[in-house]
Symmetry: C2
């Protein structure tokens, strides 16, 4: 059943210290994110696992040392590939070549050129990253791990901590580990 994983996921604010996910668990989290869908098949993300203590401290600080970040034994940072999304880039050409599966990539390339608006593309790419992020959050729940998506961070500090290239934008920090708190009562709108 999938709904149990969806229901078990919540934003964990307090992780058990020193209990990072195993390499096998981290690999499954990345695999879940890797298989997410994306507009035009562009997969405009990089998924970065961070477990080293120094790096974690720098990332937590960039997240204003909020409890989930301060206590997390590991992070997966979802990074949006913004510069790579230029319609004329090698990256886009390669993705469309793959997406065309041996057919002509020109129509999808033309549609993408019509779609691409430089002013909005960073925010759009960060939104696309949420497909991959949600897969990771659900896979964590499925593995019995706690997680917390953190969108509130000092972008400059996070870029520095990640040594991000100029053309990449951190979209979401996912804290992950054993959760030290019980799932609170769920708050949701009732009507849709």
């Amino acid at each position: 059943m999938l709904l149990p994983a969806i229901q078990a996921r919540f934003a964990c604010r307090d992780f058990v210290p020193g209990q990072a996910p195993s390499p096998q668990q981290l690999a499954e989290l990345i695999e879940a994110g890797r298989l997410a869908p994306s507009a035009f098949g562009l997969e405009p993300w990089r998924l970065v696992v961070v477990t080293g203590p120094g790096d974690r401290t720098a990332i937590a600080r960039a997240c204003f040392d909020q409890p989930a970040a301060r206590t997390a034994p590991a992070f997966i940072v979802v990074v949006a590939l913004v510069e790579a999304l230029e319609p004329g880039s090698d990256y886009v050409r390669e993705r469309f070549q793959a997406e065309a599966r041996g057919g002509d990539p020109a129509p999808i390339h033309a549609a993408y050129r019509a779609f691409h608006r430089p002013a909005d593309i960073a925010i759009w790419a960060c939104g696309q990253c949420n497909f991959a992020a949600e897969n990771i959050l659900l896979q964590a729940a499925h593995l019995g791990l706690g997680s917390c998506p953190i969108g509130g961070f000092d972008e400059a500090a996070l870029r520095a901590a990640m040594e991000s290239p100029a053309g990449e934008v951190p979209a979401l920090v996912i804290a992950v580990g054993q959760c030290a708190e019980a799932q609170p009562a769920r708050v949701r709108k009732l009507t849709y």
Copy 2:
């Protein structure tokens, strides 16, 4: 196992005619979307089920009659609540009241005011909708249903077909039903 659902999900372009998901299946798809996470707990979406033949035709047309839309026996349209996201709105006040769980909602409201940028909020809200959309896509796969996320549509035509209020923006059309084609070989980047 969750990875099987993630692996089984693909963009179905051809649906079996006349076989809409059952009311129970549609309810599970909506429930999956409803439980998705969102920044600030704002749940900035509405999830609209469309099964009527006339409405489906209008939506398919707004999606340029692409095969997935033309053949889909049902749609779930994920609509972004943009106007409701004004920091002073009743909607925001109510969500933060709920999110504070009896505590003081003022700090989260202050953080949100600092975050909110009118120029970007529609694109940002559409990106948030991808959390809910991914849950729906995975739940469909879990139920053995095919699905296709469609982001390429004529927004004005879709708004007309949906009779969208002025403050709402369609974020993603999800076609859903019995898939009439086999899953193609998966195309993904190899390195992360």
